[in-house]
Amino acid sequence: MTAAFDILLCVMILGTAGAALFLRDPLAAIVFLIVLGNLLGLAWLTLDAVNVALAEIAIGAGVTGVLLILARARLVALGDNVVCEPMPLWARLGAIALCAGFTAVLSCVVLSITPDSGLTARIEALMPRIGIENPVTGVLLAFRAYDTLLETFVLLGALVAVWSLGPDTAWPHPPAALRIFDPGLRSVAGAFGRVLLPMALVMAAYLVWAGSDLPGGAFQAGTVFAGGLLLAAIGGAIGLPRADSPALRLVLVLGPLVFLMIGLAGAVLGRFLLFPDGTAKMLIVTIEYALAASIAVTLALLVAGSPATPDKQD
């Protein structure tokens, strides 16, 4: 029964991916990418990787969809003048053959590796030392904390890069407003956004709090809250901040900063990112709350895009 479910799911994932790539209507392609995100979330659930499933569903359903739908709408509004010459047929066929060969090789490589639980046992053995029970959070914030710290810098860097793409006249105005223009539609979406935003906040807080022992954590919480922020912004319940607002800047760097300070405090005690015995859980939860806030705001602003000149607010 489980095998039949897995096979059906994998077939649907592949079909959806094919549709996302090769359907002619671009909106249909984006819709299928959203569906792919949902199905991948289910795949992670069947793999018992609930931590990943939470992130995938929140990103796939909440953030990537909005990002791509808005990007496409803005592109069409600009006239969509990006030059894209179609490839000649022989080049296409060659590319398809090449990719088929590559896929065959990759499949053989995959088949030659026996799936196993890898480091599960060793990580489980180390978990009591940090006093939390979710091994994924343990890996993210204790065993591989360095990676996670640098990753938060990558997120911040991506936002800086997106901001730097705005026209000179736009800085430091907010990005183009996300709210729906039609007043009737906006009142519907706005009322819902006002209800949903606090619920998303509660859910995000719960995910961080639960994340030390159950599936959940800063990344999942941040993406859920980012989805809530986006919905509220689309409904016009919240506006978008100016890029030079001090409060915004503080929230953006809060997570990486708290992480870095705690890491440096560890360096004073002996090693960078050392959590002294007995305080590990408290420090991890502190870092996670700060990170979740920063990730949520960063993701929401990444979706909103570059600063826009005030008279061209679309």
Binding site: M1, T2, F5, L8, L9, M12, G15, L23, R24, D25, P26, L27, A28, V31, F32, I34, V35, N38, L39, G41, L42, L45, T46, D48, V50, A53, L54, I57, A58, A61, G62, V63, G65, V66, I69, L70, A73, R74, V76, A77, L178, I180, F181, P183, L185, A189, F192, G193, L196, M203, A210, L214, P215, G216, V224, G227, G228, L230, L231, D314
Partner: protein, 101 residues
């Protein structure tokens, strides 16, 4: 009992596959968005059933996130189709240009 839940999950997934036919065929944009919405709620159902089959309460959180954010894509679509038009009504340029496809 787990087998019963897995059977229900398989049937739900097959149902979603049927709904996806509408997303492939269209014809309107709105049909595709509706199909995506259905897959969203269907996915939540599958997550609930899988959680019961595996005895994993954490999967309920996945269902909760799925429902919380199911409507975000729809509102983005409604927002996106009015890009580039003035504050008062009427379908916008984005939609007109898109209809030729």
């Amino acid at each position: 009992m787990p087998d019963v839940f897995m059977l229900a999950a398989i049937l739900l997934l097959a149902t979603l596959g049927v709904a996806l036919m509408r997303a492939v065929r269209g014809p309107g944009r709105i049909d595709r968005i509706m199909a995506a919405q259905l897959v969203g709620t269907g996915g939540v159902g599958v997550a609930l059933v899988l959680g019961a089959a595996r005895n994993a309460p954490a999967m309920l959180d996945a269902a909760l996130i799925g429902t919380l954010l199911a409507s975000v894509a729809v509102s983005a679509y409604v927002r996106g189709r009015t890009v580039g038009q003035p504050e008062t009504g009427g379908p916008g340029r984005a939609d007109e240009a898109g209809r030729s496809e």
